[in-house]
């Protein structure tokens, strides 16, 4: 395996493709389930690829936001206009009222069309606390599964042109690669570069959500016409065996296994 230099830098990605959602709350004098809007916004941030404006941020952007939402009294076009003032694409409006039990109404209001695109209602016994799992369940009912897929980006650069780039065995082009590669996150990926006459490059990286990981590959030419006893990789193999059976066996057994994969169950 050639010597190679890897520099992986994770930095926050631009949000150019992400839908912006403001979570706003409208209460009819109900004191229970305080800060539910904030908790819903937090769940959205942690589990989706949406750009979320929580109620506190909305108040920072517009001091009179609560009064504006209250005046709308749930009217979708009116709430959509509030969304326009917050520069978002959608408003997730939480209505909290009380008729004996606490009644919650969640509505997705598209700012451009001023239409309700999804809604659900829930009745909570007065004393019941709302668990995060329940909030996530509501969001999964309101939003399609694609929303819950999160992504990160990989940028691959190399010191040579024309090297084939594969990510988890999928070919992604040749260097120099244009732009960023969008991948599911958080996940681990194996980035490989190969070019004739050059030693192959491989590295394993972890991509966090909404982050960009840069891989800068330094590829070196394969060993030329050196006498066999001067080639460094021969010494690597000989050295591996010479140290002892443990190392020799370890190197052998750690060869890529093409008949099995490691399995995990994820809740």
């Amino acid at each position: 395996m050639a010597l190679a230099m890897l520099s992986a830098v994770a930095r926050p990605s631009l949000a150019e493709e992400r839908r912006r959602v403001a979570v706003l709350e409208f209460r009819a004098g109900v004191e229970q389930v305080q800060n539910l809007g904030g908790r819903i916004a937090e769940r959205l941030k942690k589990t989706t690829a949406l750009t979320v404006v929580d109620p506190q941020e909305a108040r920072r952007r517009s001091a009179a936001i609560d009064a504006a939402v209250a005046r709308c009294a749930g009217d979708a076009p009116c709430v959509a206009k509030v969304g326009t003032s917050l520069e978002v694409d959608e408003v997730l409006l939480l209505g909290v009222s009380k008729v004996g039990d606490v009644v919650l109404a969640l509505q997705r209001i598209d700012v451009e069309t001023q239409a309700v695109t999804g809604q659900l209602s829930e009745v909570l016994p007065s004393a019941e606390e709302v668990e995060d799992k329940k909030i996530l369940g509501w969001l999964r009912q309101l939003y399609p599964p694609e929303v819950f897929k999160r992504y990160g980006f990989i940028v691959v650069t190399a010191n040579v042109d024309g090297a084939t780039v594969t990510i988890n065995n999928q070919p992604r082009g040749e260097t120099p690669l244009e732009g960023k590669l969008k991948v599911l996150a958080p996940r681990s990926y194996r980035v490989e570069l190969a070019k004739p006459d050059y030693s192959p490059f491989a590295a394993r990286i972890d991509v966090p959500p909404d982050a960009t990981v840069e891989v800068r590959a330094e590829m070196t030419r394969a060993a030329g016409l050196l006498p066999w006893y001067k080639r460094w990789y021969l010494w690597a193999i000989v050295g591996g065996v010479a140290v002892g059976a443990a190392v020799g066996v370890a190197v052998y057994s750690l060869q890529p296994d093409s008949t099995n994969v490691m399995g995990f169950i994820q809740r």
Binding site: N168, A236, V247, V261
Partner: protein, 550 residues
């Protein structure tokens, strides 16, 4: 340089290890606690199996744990699988997920979502019973459900709100358990089993009663049998995703169409057009005719031929042979063209065919001696009535006795005194709708049991008599024929009853009269017989169990 070579050799080995590949099985379970197998405190293990080979994929792992946790299950061989994930606890199957055609490839990150569901049973009402006498039983709800993992008598509150206000007539679940199709009068409602909420609907033009639904094993199509014939939903995935499934055509026009079944490879459909089960076995000497149709899923030119008279159900076995159930047929379930010998026995209305197993419930009743009769503990040489279920495999047929309930009579006779008759054994047992749990251990049976107290010629029978010097002074008689619609769950290996509940009572006859025979036998009091009829409730039907067989 030599030292560097050694270091690089080790580094090379480590780097190579990263290229093996991984597979993540991500669990998706309902967030509602009562619907989630993972929230069941009894859950203790999760097992992954390949349904094609029945080989386990990795060792069992603990079912306890927080959301977001990853549990390693060791190396999984690359290949294509039909993945089955079981959540077990206390010896019970508490939850199941099934996904077909999962390909695991080396060297890459494989991701598989497994949709975990409880094996809930759903049912509707074939017929409401017109109330008479005291209203004793509740009417049918739109869609009713049972949690088959919970103790007896635990009904599960089904939450779906269907479009039609009347009760469902038929239910069927997709193979992966993610969706339930519910048929009402003319609508098919799609219920998302993640939330038990309706997620779609399609109206079948011209239909006024949906009789049954069959879903293809590959979940790509569904056959809906109505009072007009058979409609094939050829693009079921679109309907399940909330999109239009395209034009729905009446593929088979036959108002007598009753039930449909898919070939194991999902390419063919078999349909029986014949009498409703209530008419099928009433008079076997004059059993109504029946027709068998088979046609490909694209519905070109159904081929029709005669089926045994009174046939009520059709199924395919694992080899693709057509099976038919006719309760009048003494040999039992027969194979078309004699592909295999008949199995079972008389009185089978509904066939269960799964894998290499064929199961059903016979209509025979046998009084068998028991150590003690719980209904009449002082009875000498007590006997109890037993029905019978059978399970046929390639190696043979096993039969299990099924205890049947006696019916106590607790009403007042014409003379104002209680009718003192020991509890009656049923004289007829019709298990007209049957479903098998996904682990193959329990049958859910919708049945009609008939209890009679009449003479052999059908006349009222004396139940009380006073004699002097061997001459009758006074007597009372009872004319009683009652149908009881029961839903019950039975362990298929032992016959032990689990859940059981009476859903409907329908008295054909119930009247008493007493006679004073001092000067010829004359009615005491009014000449009109005292009416004791009671009718209420409904006949459950359209049973299905998520990821089970029906």
């Amino acid at each position: 340089m030599r030292l560097l070579g050694l270091a690089v050799a080790t580094a090379a080995g480590l780097a190579a290890a990263c290229g093996q590949g991984t597979v993540y099985f991500t669990l998706e379970a309902p967030s509602e606690q009562s619907l989630s197998p993972l929230a069941d405190p009894r859950a203790d293990s999760i097992v992954l199996t390949d349904e094609r080979t029945l080989v386990q994929l990795g060792p069992p792992v603990s079912a306890k744990g927080e959301a977001g946790v990853e549990t390693a299950i060791g190396p999984i061989r690359v290949g294509t699988y039909d993945v089955r994930m079981s959540v077990r606890g206390g010896g019970l199957l508490l939850g199941l997920a099934r996904t077909r055609d999962v390909t695991i490839t080396s060297g890459i990150l494989n991701e598989v979502t497994l949709h975990l569901r409880k094996p809930l049973a759903f049912y509707g009402a074939g017929r409401a019973i017109a109330p008479a006498g005291m209203q004793a039983l509740p009417a049918a709800a739109q869609l009713m459900a049972l949690d088959t993992t919970l103790p007896a008598l635990t009904e599960f509150p089904a939450m779906a709100e269907l479009g039609d206000p009347g009760p469902a007539r038929a239910t069927a679940s997709t193979h992966d358990g993610r969706f339930l199709l519910v048929g009402t009068k003319s609508d098919i409602d799609v219920v998302d089993t993640l939330t038990i909420r309706r997620s779609g609907r399609v109206t079948l033009p011209g239909a006024t009663a949906i009789r049954s639904i069959a879903v293809a094993p590959d979940d790509h199509a569904a056959a809906v049998v109505t009072d007009q014939g058979v409609v094939v939903i050829a693009d079921l995935p679109s309907l399940l995703a909330g999109r239009s499934p395209g034009e729905l055509l009446l593929v088979l026009k036959d108002p007598a169409a009753r039930v449909a079944a898919f070939h194991p490879d999902s390419s063919q459909i078999a349909v029986i057009a014949g009498p409703p089960w209530e008419n099928a076995a009433d008079n076997c000497a004059k059993a109504p005719p029946a027709t068998l149709y088979t046609f490909p899923v694209d519905g070109v030119a159904p081929a029709a031929r005669m089926a045994p008279p009174g046939t009520t159900d059709v199924a395919y076995d694992a080899q693709g042979n057509v099976l038919m159930a006719s309760p009048c047929n003494a040999p039992g379930v027969i194979f078309e063209n004699g592909a295999r010998p008949p199995v079972g026995g008389p009185g089978v209305y509904d066939i269960i065919s799964v894998g290499d197993r064929i199961a059903g419930v016979l209509g025979t009743i046998r009084e068998q001696p028991v150590p003690i009769d719980p209904d009449s503990p002082r009875t000498k040489d007590p006997t109890r009535p037993f029905g019978e279920l059978f399970v046929a495999t390639a190696t043979g047929v096993s039969r299990v006795a099924l205890p049947l309930p006696k019916q106590p009579l607790d009403f007042v006779g014409a003379d104002g005194f209680p009718v003192a008759i020991p509890p009656l054994s049923p004289d007829r047992f019709d298990a007209y709708d049957v479903a098998l749990s996904p682990d193959g251990t329990h049958l859910l049976i919708a049945s009609r049991l008939r209890y009679s107290y009449v003479t052999k010629t059908g006349m009222p029978q004396r139940y009380f008599e006073l004699k002097q010097s061997n001459i009758t002074d006074y007597y009372c008689d009872l004319e009683f024929i009652e149908n009881v619609y029961r839903l019950f769950e039975v362990d298929i290996s032992s016959g032990a009853l689990g859940y059981q509940a009476i859903k409907g009572i329908e008295d054909g006859k119930c009247s008493t009269q007493c006679y004073d025979c001092t000067f010829g036998c004359r009615p005491v009091g009014s000449a009109t017989r005292s009416d004791c009829r009671l009718s209420s409730g409904f006949a459950p039907s359209g049973i299905s169990i998520l990821m089970g067989s029906s």
